[in-house]
Each structure stands twice: as structure tokens, then as C-alpha cells.
Symmetry: C2
Subunit: 505 residues, 2 copies
């Protein structure tokens, strides 16, 4: 049974539940208009919002200004997506008197919104993965009422963003209760347990993500829970790539490790390079240019300081770029990037201590002896990850070098354990595009069939429903023969079932 909510939370959940049928019934163009209104309003209020965010998070003005643009762009992408209707996966099987198993009825299938969703927002993207971030955009695009649990790291920004969004949604005529903000982890847990809530989304740590996923799974009626958790994003660099462009790789690496003070779920945490290569020297040479950057909050800073000391103190670990962290009078930590190197056998000996995520600007170069089976290192050292990267030389990229099979095996191993495989690039800076995949096997996410970036993210908040022999007057628009919105419809013609499989005999 649902536990009793406080009067305030009861009102929030009741409003969301009451809004569900009306919001689900909004026309796609009207929902798109409302989502674009939110995007425009965020950009119109950019200066005020960024000023609050700088104070609450320590992230730079450039980064935060760009993040508002990113957030607006992804809202606009979802507005187009929800109208274009690919994600509905509309299927029509017309009645078929010649069906292989007897008369086939007319069956038509589309996707409907799940109902109210709670989204637990993240600290490290105060716009793009917070109140009106990617998960929220997907929930609203799907037609589900949204309750956001604000992150404690930026409460004032959360309230300010919510005020902007609430006004924009109301101005666009969306029902009251379409979007609401709550504060406090216990409040979030209580809402997640409520029977009226139909899904949860989360971006944050493995520990908290697991706690919430377990709550969602153990409810009397379990619900889907989409958590994006930890990732260490292994990188493999071939000797030929280093011979070709060591300085370029080193510079890209340090930029990726140090951006946003390394507080990104896609930060490259490990770089596997041939023992004795020029990469460490190239990294050392590139390290002069990185200014110190404040970490998000004192707790994260202290935790980074501890993790950094433990790594530096592990047997076999040598500093490549010493970096460091200092604390100001307010207790805030300011860091410059740290890079260490460790031989493969040393890494193997200390894998338990070293292979865990270090949240902050630190990365580990693992020096691999010639002849090592690179593909086997993935399952040996890592669970699921958001990304895996391979740096090849131009010649290796042709797939025709002597080591091509070894590289193909490595790509297969990466594909098995990550959501995105990159070549000759860096995993930070996740592009907001239709084909993006931001996910991966546990513990990268709680649900590796889904993504939290890219247009497929909308599918997390919908479920399929089929209609059998439905009169046109009772069909969802997307399934009608006249298809007024022109959404894609996959039609399985009558008569074809008799030949199913025949071409494979």
C-alpha cells in the first residue's frame, strides 16, 4: 500500500495525477509549442539564471551560458520529435482473411504516455540535467505530468528555473499540474513510492541510484526507473596513433579531463597506452595551460581530495601531471588536473582501489606491455560504462593493418560494455542529436535499453497499446487511415503471412 504523504506532497501528487488525462490528450503541436515556450523563456532569462548558477555551483560563466543554450536546443529538438511521431512506432496490420493462422483481425499499435513521472535532477549540469534538462524535456514531450526533485546543490536556481518554466507552460495553455518542483530527498522517495507515479528518472551517484532503483522495483506495483549513474569511460590509444599525433591526443585528453573540473559522467578516467610510449611526456608538456577550477561543493571537493591522495599513494602509481587541490576560506575546493601513470601489472594488483570513479579532474594512464590482449582488459577491469574510446592512426582506421583483427575484437569488447564507442575523439561534450546514445550496462545506468540524451529518450515514458478492430471514431489519430498528422505508419499488408520464412529455406 502507498504510505501516507504529507499534505503538501499529497497535493503535488494529486495535481499531477489529475493533470495526466488532460495533458495526455493535448494535441502534439500544442505540447510542442509549450516546450518551445519553455526553451525561449530560459534563454530570455539567461543572465539572471546564470548568475545564480555561478554562485551555487562554481561553474564558469562560459560553461553555464553554453549550457542554457544546450538546454534550450534539446527542448526544441523534443518539440519537433514529438510532432514528427517516429517514436510512436505506429503499426497497422489490416484485417487479413488469408492469414496463415486463420482470419487476422485489424490490429493497430501505438504508444501512450505512462502518467506522472518523478525526475531526480543532477548537480553537475544545473541546467541540462536539472529542472528543465533532458529528462524533463523527454517526460513533457511524452505527455506525462512531471515532478522534479530539485538537487540540493542549486536550490535557488531550481526555484528560479521552475518559475520560468511554470509561467511558460501556463502561458501555452498546459493544464495545472503539468510540472511541479519539490525539494528534499525524503520527499522525493515518498513521491517515488506513490502508486500514482508511473516512472522515475535520475542522474547521480551509483549509491543513490541503486537505492532509488530498488525502491521503484520493490513497490507493490513496480515501475520503470531510469538512473544514469557512474562511469569511468576507458580509452585505448594505439602506438601508431601516438606516433602520428601525440601532442594532439595529449591536449584533447587534458581538455576533456579538466573541463568543468572533471565533474562529468563522461570524463575519461583511464587511458590504456603502450608501455614506453611518448604519451606521458606529451601530456606533461601539454599540462601548463589549465587554470584551477572550483569543484561543485565542499563535500565533492573533500571526497576528490581523498580519492586523489589514495590513488597517488597506491603502489606503482607515478604522477605525470601533479595537479592539486586547495581549499579557500569558504571551504570550497579549487583543483588543477592530476594525471598519473601505472604499469598494467601495478593496475592489476591495485585494481580494486584504482578502478573506481574519481569524480573530479584526475585520470589514470595504464601502460600496457606489447602483446597484451587489449579486448580482454575490458571485462577484466570494468563493468558497464557510458562510453569507451579508441584512438587509431589514419592507416589503422582503414581496417587493413596487421593489427586490424585485434582492433575489431577491442571494438566488439567495448560495444559489449558501453553505450557509445568513440573513435579519435573525447567522450565529454555529449552531442544532443537524434542518434545519440547516453546509457550503458550497469552501473553506468539502471536500464541499458534506454538513453537519457537523444530523441530515443522520449520512449522511456511511454508504453505500447494495441487496438483490435477499433472503429475509426475510437482510434488514436496516429493509427487512423486518414492519418491527419502524417506520422510514419508501418503497414503489414494482408496476404503476406503465407510466405513468412520462405526465403530462408
Amino acid at each position: 500500500m502507498t504510505e501516507t504523504l504529507s499534505p503538501e506532497l499529497e497535493a503535488v501528487v494529486a495535481r499531477a495525477a489529475a493533470a495526466a488525462p488532460a495533458f495526455a490528450a493535448t494535441r502534439p503541436e500544442d505540447r510542442a509549442r509549450a516546450i518551445v515556450a519553455v526553451a525561449d523563456a530560459l534563454e530570455a532569462n539567461r543572465e539572471d539564471l546564470v548568475a545564480i548558477a555561478m554562485r551555487e555551483t562554481g561553474l564558469t560563466e562560459v560553461r553555464l551560458t553554453g549550457e542554457v543554450t544546450r538546454t534550450a536546443v534539446q527542448l526544441r529538438l523534443f518539440a519537433d520529435t514529438l510532432v514528427d511521431g517516429d517514436y510512436l512506432d505506429a503499426r497497422i496490420d489490416p484485417a487479413d482473411s488469408d492469414f496463415a493462422l486463420g482470419v487476422r483481425p485489424d490490429i493497430r499499435r501505438t504508444h501512450l504516455p505512462l502518467g506522472p513521472v518523478i525526475n531526480f535532477s543532477a548537480s553537475n549540469f544545473p541546467f541540462a540535467f536539472s529542472v528543465m534538462g533532458g529528462d524533463s524535456a523527454a517526460v513533457l514531450a511524452a505527455g506525462c505530468p512531471l515532478i522534479v526533485k530539485a538537487h540540493s546543490g542549486h536550490p535557488e536556481l531550481s526555484d528560479a528555473t521552475a518559475a520560468v518554466a511554470t509561467a511558460a507552460l501556463a502561458g501555452a495553455g498546459m493544464p495545472e499540474g503539468t510540472f511541479q518542483l519539490i525539494h528534499g530527498r525524503e520527499a522525493g522517495v515518498q513521491v517515488l513510492k506513490d502508486a500514482r507515479i508511473k516512472a522515475g528518472a535520475f542522474t547521480g551517484s551509483i549509491a543513490v541510484g541503486r537505492l532509488l532503483a530498488d525502491i521503484a522495483a520493490s513497490r507493490p506495483a513496480p515501475i520503470p526507473f531510469f538512473g544514469e549513474l557512474g562511469s569511468v569511460n576507458p580509452v585505448f590509444v594505439t602506438g601508431a596513433a601516438i606516433d602520428e599525433r601525440a601532442a594532439e591526443i595529449a591536449d584533447g585528453f587534458l581538455t576533456s579531463v579538466s573541463g568543468s573540473a572533471g565533474q562529468l559522467c563522461t570524463k575519461p578516467g583511464f587511458v590504456f597506452a603502450p608501455a614506453g610510449s611518448a604519451l606521458p611526456d606529451a601530456i606533461r608538456a601539454a599540462a601548463g595551460d589549465f587554470p584551477e577550477h572550483r569543484l561543485l561543493d565542499p563535500r565533492i571537493a573533500r571526497s576528490f581530495e581523498e580519492r586523489r591522495s589514495a590513488i597517488l599513494g597506491s603502489a606503482g602509481v607515478t604522477p605525470v601531471v601533479a595537479g592539486g587541490i586547495r581549499f579557500d576560506e569558504a571551504g570550497q575546493g579549487w583543483a588543477t588536473p592530476t594525471v598519473v601513470a601505472v604499469p598494467l601489472d601495478g593496475f592489476r594488483a591495485s585494481a580494486a582501489a584504482l578502478s573506481e570513479e574519481a569524480f573530479g579532474p584526475l585520470s589514470i594512464v595504464v601502460e600496457v606491455p606489447a602483446g597484451t590482449d587489449l579486448a580482454s582488459l575490458m571485462p577484466e577491469f570494468f563493468e558497464g560504462n557510458l562510453t569507451g574510446t579508441l584512438h587509431l592512426s589514419a592507416e589503422e582506421a582503414t581496417g587493413e593493418t596487421a593489427n586490424a583483427d585485434e582492433l575489431r575484437a577491442l571494438v566488439a569488447a567495448l560495444s559489449q560494455q558501453v553505450g557509445r564507442v568513440l573513435f579519435n575523439g573525447w567522450s565529454t561534450g555529449v552531442a544532443v542529436t537524434p542518434a545519440q546514445q547516453h546509457g550503458g550496462p550497469w552501473p553506468a545506468t539502471t536500464n541499458d535499453a534506454s538513453t537519457s540524451v537523444g530523441t530515443a529518450a522520449i520512449s522511456r515514458f511511454m508504453r505500447p497499446v494495441a487496438y483490435q478492430n477499433a472503429p475509426a471514431a475510437f482510434l488514436p489519430e496516429a493509427l487512423r487511415d486518414d492519418n491527419p498528422a502524417g506520422v510514419p505508419q508501418a503497414i503489414a499488408p494482408a496476404g503476406e503471412s503465407r510466405s513468412w520464412g520462405a526465403r530462408w529455406r
Copy 2:
């Protein structure tokens, strides 16, 4: 940590894990050929298999013979599906120097098989939801090694089917370990807990499904678990429909309730009809023709007898068709259909006792006073269901009668709580077609974003992976520009991001 398996189970799981990369790498046409070979082999061995099935399950020769055809047809449908490649949802975002957020890399996304899967088979469909049933077809089509846990209700048939399938798969060149059969619930649980297993499928009771879903969710690395559990499949019949064709509705209803002795997850368990209508008399008139049918096993028969007595003994319940159950000397139960009626207020008073599934040939007519808000009955009495049905008159089907809004509200309420909404038909006899949806909110399934019938079922056993700036030599075939297999590719042209959302201002 994974618990230690017995040597036999360890060998099974190790074989499946070893087969995973090789099976995933098979060409789609070769996998299709293997699946069609299984279908052909089942049909070639139909007589022998049906003879065993009749003895073990008590189902009729006609039903079982048809079920083999259904099983073969659905294997062949998946063979075509896996080659056609729609389910890969292949997406290509070419590099875009004019992207709204700066240069967009080339990103391409497809779906890869999850790895080894365990499928717990069902008792009531000894072919279509058992060893080589729909879930198994989807697992093999996806390219995942399959371990089937045999149902204890038909062990000999399971072994015989497995022998046929194993020979066919080996003959088609599939790797050893592609398919294996195990017996025993504890063995199934042990395999489900093993870290090498990447998903589970199940068809059966709510109690066992919940147990297994909880195990899958609480593993150190949780995995998706697709359980198809209980359903009572509410039906609503309007007065106008009864006036139009009471005898036809009554006959269809009794056929649906009594087929396979009512032991179907889509059996209509409740029929809501206007109080005082001609439906009960019509049902009584149609009831003469139904012979007794053996229930699957003595345990199910005793449980049905108990449930039937409890329902007949509830306050306000009156028999429409008395039906009955008798036990033979072997302890097997033989039943004829039972139909009872109860007024809405009586149903409300005894809802806890009456609204649970009765597995067997029994259904309840609920007599609804004029003026009742039909849509509100769904959330009042039911959780998630596989199906919900509405019988309308020809005039009501136009959507232009005085009660059209009431009917639309009822369709919306059904859509909210079921996976398939039927009009003027019966929910048993699930068509095996591309647009089919066999699922629904908890407790109809453990995961209502999925289906266990229809081509979308394959997606349960795959996960998305994106490739960023990958050289063609390292891309999966489905993502290459030359697209050798001609699978559908959704391409997002460069330059379009600048106008995202613009049409909604």
C-alpha cells in the same frame, strides 16, 4: 557476487556465455535460416510431439496441432523480422559543422544483442509459450544464446522439443550453446542470478513472476526481466449491442471462456452489462454445446474447484450457467464452463474476493445500473490487464451517438490500464502479427513497455549502442553508408538543427 553453480549448471551457463560473441556475430540471414529450420523441424515432428503433449497437458489434439502451426509461424515471422532490420532502429547523424551547439560529430546508433537469456516457459501453451515459443523465438532472433527452464507440467515434451530444436540449430551451423534446456525451478533461479545472464523472460503466475522479477532486480548487476503474469480481461457490453446481437455475443463469450478449459491469460474474466439486459438469458441459451475439458493438471484443477466454490458462495452471486468440475480416478479435473452474475453493488461489496483471476472456465457478469460512470469502474476494480474489450452497436461504432463521449472516456480508461483494447471481439486467440501488443501494466506484466507477442518482442533482448566518428571498417553493417543489407536507416541531415522548434513559435 554470483553464487556457485552446480557443475552441470556451470557448464550450461559457461556454454551460453562462450556462444554469445559467435552467435551475436552470425549474419542475419544465417540466423533466419536456423530459426526457419527449427520451425520446419517442429512441423515435421508434429505428430510425435502432439501425442506427448496430449498426454502431459490434457489439451485437445485440434488445439495442440494448431499450436504447433502457430509456433512455426511465429518463428518464421521472427526470421523475416530480424533480416528486415526495422527493429535495429538504425539512426545516422552525419557530421554537421553548422550544428546549433558547435560542430556535431558523426554519430550512428543501432541495437546489439544483450547476451545469454533465460526463459521460464509456461504450462498452458506447451508449444507457443514453451521451449521454442514466442519468447524463445525473440531471444534467438535477437542473437542471444538461450537457456530455457522447462515447465514441470510437460517435461517429456520439453525434452523432445529441445532435441528437435538442437538438431535443427546445429544443422544450420549455429554455435554450440546457442540453445540449452534445464529442468527445475531452483536451477532456473540459480541461472537467473548468474552474472553472465543478461535478461530473463517468464510466462506464468503473479506470485512466481514477482519472485523472479525481484531476484532479477536485486542482483549485484540488475537485469531486465520480462514476466507475463495474470490478467482478468474486463469486457464492457452496451445495451445497444445486446439489443442488436445478444445471441452472437453470448456465443462468442462462452467460446472464449471455455476454450482450452479457460486456462488462457486472455480469458474474459468479467463482463459488465446493463442491469436487466437480455445477456444472461442469451448466455444460458447458448450454454448447451460445451463439452467438458480436462484441466492441465490436478493442482490447477483443485485450485479452480476452490475458486469456483468461493465465487458461487459469495453474497449476491447467482449462477447463469452452473457448469461444474468432476475428478477422474487419476485425480485429473474435467470442467464445463461456469458463468455467474452479480449486481454492481454486490460486486463492490465482495470485490476483494471476486476480482482476482479464476484460472479455468469461469467468468462473472456484473450487472450495472443505468447512469453508472463506466470509465470509473476500471480503476475502481482493476489493476493492469493484458486486454480490455468493448462491444458496441453498429450505430455506436460511428462515434456519433448520444453516449459517444461516455464511450470515448471508457476507451481512454481501458487504454490506460491494458495493453490491447478490443472492439466487438474476444481477447483469446492472440494474433501473431507485427502490430500485436501482448502486455500491460502490473500485474499483467512486470514491464509494460514490452510485448511478448508481435515483432516488437525482439527489442526486449537488445540494447542500443552509438558509434561516434567510427571509420567504416569498424562500424556494424547496419550503420554503414553502403548499407549492404538494405536495412532502414533514419538519417538526420546536417544543417537542420538551427531550425529545431522554429515552427512552434
